[in-house]
Symmetry: none
Subunit: 228 residues, 2 copies
DNA sequence: AGAATTTGTGACCATTTTGTGACAGTCCGG
DNA sequence: CCGGACTGTCACAAAATGGTCACAAATTCT
């Protein structure tokens, strides 16, 4: 359902930045810190798109791109190159190597995500994220907006992520632990009850529009978003 | 409730990729980086399926597979092998070792998840997250919903667990002690008559839909869920 | 039939689980 | 450096659930 994106980037901070924003946009993210590692991951499991840093320790990103294009199995794999700057000659090299798009640092996260969507859409339209509409409650991942009819619903960041997760996984019950894992991130140490509080805040925000009852409590287990 | 999958894979990036996609599909994921570690994990807590890399440092995956098949307690444990390529001879070895399916690298994450579901479904449908349907009474473990036709049946947590147990073990008589063990958990100290009360509550909840008579009393012994 | 067992039922209350409001720390833009 | 937005925790309130009990009803045994 959700596309998997492989991020090949040696700088931890930038890798993290990319990963967070992509996850936030609903993508699944795999990471690699070097071209070799990226190559290994790709040989094991084809992602839907590769985001490849131009400059990598050891084998360069562009070399990996060429290699991918040369292999029958990865010929079609979309590639986005990350570069400090694109000179004309780099561009030519890159086009040769077969990148589908470039993103130059520094980049805005929103733009980055938009580029990823654009490339995915070109390859296979259904992978790109469209606005989700469930019973009149609309969430647009691209514009980061939640609306009901023409009314704008203001949400804090966490509320937004929570609602996004629910709307992309309707009808299914999630425990507090699972929600912490999926919405907050794996390694955090947060009280499970904190989830309750955010559920409440989200409900309060949706309440004026009547959508609050979509978030159902499943006693003894967790919460569920009613998808119909 | 959600099936647990043990991933035995030494390559961190691939392990992560597997884990991310499996979690996303609603599975709980345990990890091990070597056959030995995997073995230990399995002995500590039986997962519902093992995804086993063919090539592992030290003891090979295939050796672990054989070992699992040889042990009475893990004889039935579904195994999916991850291989770089399957030669005919590997296949024979693998079949001997008792793998239920193979996934050859590179694989697409979506396909991988589909395979896992397929294997689980073969063993026991409800583990694949499928609803159980007995005579029009439907129980969906993923959404934690019980329905008859399009009517929603509200159940408390214990009632739900009890019904789940019955529906996954129809046609068989259970004593109160066995039910306490299986539905409540081993170590509890609860009056046996308490089971009767919950049976009654469950019957009451099912009664408006005519399914109450499925729960049959076997005098002098216990209860049975009629499976057809 | 009458007594003895076993199971069904309704009610009660303690415990557990969830909802809510408040609060203090952090982060960020101005 | 200030003020506002946002988050994670707490403590307490509200709700629901769960285990028992006492008694009724049903079944079996003499």
């Amino acid at each position: 359902m959700n596309p998997t994106i492989l991020v090949v980037e040696d700088e931890p901070a930038i890798q993290e930045l990319l990963a967070v924003n992509l996850k936030h946009a609903g993508f699944l993210v795999a990471r690699a810190a070097s071209a070799e590692e990226g190559d290994a991951v790709i040989r094991a499991a084809l992602p839907d798109l590769v985001m490849l840093d131009w400059m990598l320790p050891g084998q360069s990103g562009i070399a990996l791109a060429r290699k991918l294009r040369a292999d029958e199995r990865t010929k079609e794999l979309p590639i986005i190159m990350l570069t400090a700057r694109v000179h004309e000659e780099d561009k030519i090299q890159g086009l040769e190597a077969g990148a589908d798009d470039y993103i130059t640092k520094p980049f805005s996260p929103k733009e980055m995500v938009a580029r990823v969507r654009a490339v995915l859409r070109r390859r296979s339209p259904h992978l790109a994220g469209e606005a989700i509409n469930i019973g009149g409650l609309k969430l647009n991942p691209a514009t980061h907006r939640v609306t009901s009819g023409d009314q704008n619903i203001e949400l804090g960041p966490t509320e937004f992520r929570l609602l996004f997760f629910f709307m992309t996984h309707p009808e299914r019950v999630y425990t507090r632990a699972q929600l912490l894992d999926d919405v907050w991130g794996d390694h955090v140490f947060i009280e499970e009850r904190t989830v309750d509080v955010h559920i409440r805040r989200l409900r309060a925000a949706l309440e004026p529009y009547g959508h609050h009852e979509r978030i159902e409590t499943v006693r003894g287990t967790g919460y569920r978003f009613r998808g119909n």
